[in-house]
């Protein structure tokens, strides 16, 4: 298992896609820099709202798709699947490590976001203590809420040989987010909307699907992760390469 993770790392580390992980947090920081008033009542909450609207609603789902496609790309490109699966490795392990890599990249993105938000806070001189619990809940919640989407996008990325197809699917299904997050009925079940629902600070906003309790959201998130993950794994187990 450790060998396989290191093997994946060798393939990943030379990729420029790493830079993408920094783009979205940087965006949030820049917008925060321009938009935020120093005198805002709850500056940390305001930053998180910007982060949710920009990063979690748009960039994060897109990044999940890009990372999923990336970890499959070099396997699709020149017969990597064939080579890897004719080595003594179990397909379940390969699948788990690929999914793990996607989630690792998402974790890096979330950590960068946290870092940039803190930097913004210092630069703007936000008053009061840093609300660690609020920040951590948002970052970690956003990360966990990416699980079902990662499983789904990994499924699509394994199934399609081309790099563009899974990305196109992802973009098309990310765009309706703006509408879907407003629906308390569909929002929680829509994998592309879940990261935003999880990252939004709950204290003072409460419309549409945001009324939902964290517990309900995470039951749905973990439930759908199991379903998508299992479907992807079964497909991968049976796939001829």
């Amino acid at each position: 298992m450790i060998g396989m993770i290191r093997s994946e790392w060798i393939k990943l580390r030379r990729s420029v896609v790493w830079l993408l992980a920094a783009v979205s947090p940087l965006f949030v920081a820049v917008i925060g820099m321009v938009e935020l008033e120093k005198e805002a009542d709850f500056p940390w909450v305001a930053v998180l709202s910007i982060a949710s609207a920009l990063h979690a609603m748009l960039f994060l789902p897109l990044l999940v798709g890009i990372f999923s496609a990336l970890v499959c790309r070099y396997e699709h490109a020149s017969g990597g699947w064939k080579q890897m699966l004719s080595l003594p490795v179990s397909r379940m392990q390969v699948y788990a490590v690929k999914l793990g890599m996607v989630m690792l990249l998402i974790a890096v993105t979330q950590l960068l976001l946290l870092l940039f938000v803190l930097l913004l806070g210092f630069m703007k001189g936000f008053g009061g203590d840093i609300p660690w619990s609020l920040l951590m809940k948002s970052m970690l919640g956003g990360w966990v809420a990416c699980l079902p989407l990662a499983a789904l996008q990994l499924f699509v990325s394994i199934a399609f040989h081309s790099f563009a197809t899974p990305l196109a699917v992802n973009v098309i299904l990310t765009l309706p987010n703006m509408l879907i997050v407003n629906s308390s009925q569909y929002g929680p079940y829509y994998p592309w909307a879940q990261p935003m629902l999880a990252m939004m600070p709950r204290e003072d906003y409460g419309f549409g699907a945001f009324n939902l309790s964290m517990e309900t959201l995470f039951i749905v998130v973990l439930g759908s992760f199991c379903v998508f993950g299992l479907a992807g794994l079964i497909y991968f187990q049976k796939k001829s390469v």
């Binding site: 060998g3 093997s7 060798i10 017969g79 003594p88 001829s240």
Partner: protein, 307 residues
């Protein structure tokens, strides 16, 4: 000869259907230790499909595969630990250099790091090892593929069309490399090709597959024997000569005035000639007509097979 050798790989009734159509039908392969087994067939005959099943990349519709005495459907990981393979075209990660490519594979095997230098020197890529593989020529990629296959010190090496797309020098190089392996490393090799001339120069045993069925499997010498042709006799009165020979128990045929005998060994031919001369026939010519292996192969696989 091979029957008393330990069997490394054995398939029985191996069948694969794709969309209801059998691509591989009832194939029974048998490869002994130390063999260089040439797996021959025209393009689309089912070679790659068979090889993918041998490696567990695709599941057979029917039939079983035993490698090192273990069933691939049960002990896939244990088997694959001792198998090195190169399927169809070389697999590589273009953005990485040769060392990184091999390292990515080595992490999945349990071999020491210096194995990378060893295999690189076997395929003579040491000099170019630090360049990204996407800039390699096809021959170099092919050699890297072979290096990757050798990395885990395999007992069985499966090479699918390893000389595909190479120039003559590259083909020669790969051929010499493959021939040297069983001697220097004690490896058993399964090598597929659509070119008989390729296989003929390396293989100790051959299996010929056409339209999904294994139509021939034996030592290469047996195939060569078939290519020893017939002896034609040019005589003054072919018909009389034919009658004379037939009457004295020699298998002879007369087609369009051309007298042909089935005997091949020198003493028998000499006796036939002596007999004819004794009966006052004039013998003008005694010539051998060779059937090329290529045409035997074509006959077996059907002319519509592309070669």
């Amino acid at each position: 000869m091979t029957t008393n050798k330990e069997t490394i790989l054995e398939t029985s009734g191996l069948t694969k259907k794709l969309g209801g159509k059998p691509v591989v039908k009832d194939v029974n392969l048998r490869i002994g230790r130390g063999d260089i087994y040439g797996f021959l067939g025209p393009n689309g005959a089912g070679k790659t499909t068979t090889i993918r099943m041998l490696l567990g990349l695709a599941k057979p519709t029917r039939g079983s595969i035993r490698i090192f005495g273990k069933d691939i459907s049960k002990d896939r990981l244990a088997i694959l630990r001792s198998v090195g393979s190169l399927v169809e075209y070389p697999s590589y990660y273009g953005h990485l250099n040769a060392i990184e490519n091999l390292e990515a594979v080595r992490r999945l095997l349990t071999v020491p790091k210096n194995r990378i230098d060893e295999v690189l020197s076997v395929v003579r890529l040491t000099k170019d090892a630090k360049r990204p593989v996407k800039g390699y020529s096809l021959g170099m990629k092919q050699r890297l593929g072979i290096a990757t296959a050798l990395l885990g010190n395999p007992e069985l090496l499966v090479l699918d069309e390893p000389t595909n797309g190479l120039d003559p020098a590259g083909i020669l190089e790969i051929r010499e490399l493959i021939k040297s392996l069983p001697k220097s490393h004690g490896v058993t090799i399964l090598i597929s090709s659509h070119l008989l001339s390729e296989i003929e120069q390396m293989a100790t045993r051959v299996g010929i597959i056409a339209k999904g069925s294994l139509i021939y499997e034996d030592r290469i010498e047996k195939l060569r024997e078939r290519s020893q042709g017939h002896i034609h006799l040019g005589v003054s009165e072919p018909e009389e000569a034919w009658k004379l020979l037939s009457a004295s128990g020699v298998k002879a045929s007369l087609v369009e005035g051309k007298l042909t005998v089935a005997e091949k060994n020198n003493a028998a031919i000499a006796a036939i000639v002596a007999r004819l001369v004794g009966e006052r026939h004039q013998v003008y010519r005694v010539e051998e007509e060779k059937v090329s292996l290529e045409s035997i192969f074509l006959d077996m696989t059907g002319v519509e097979g592309s070669l």
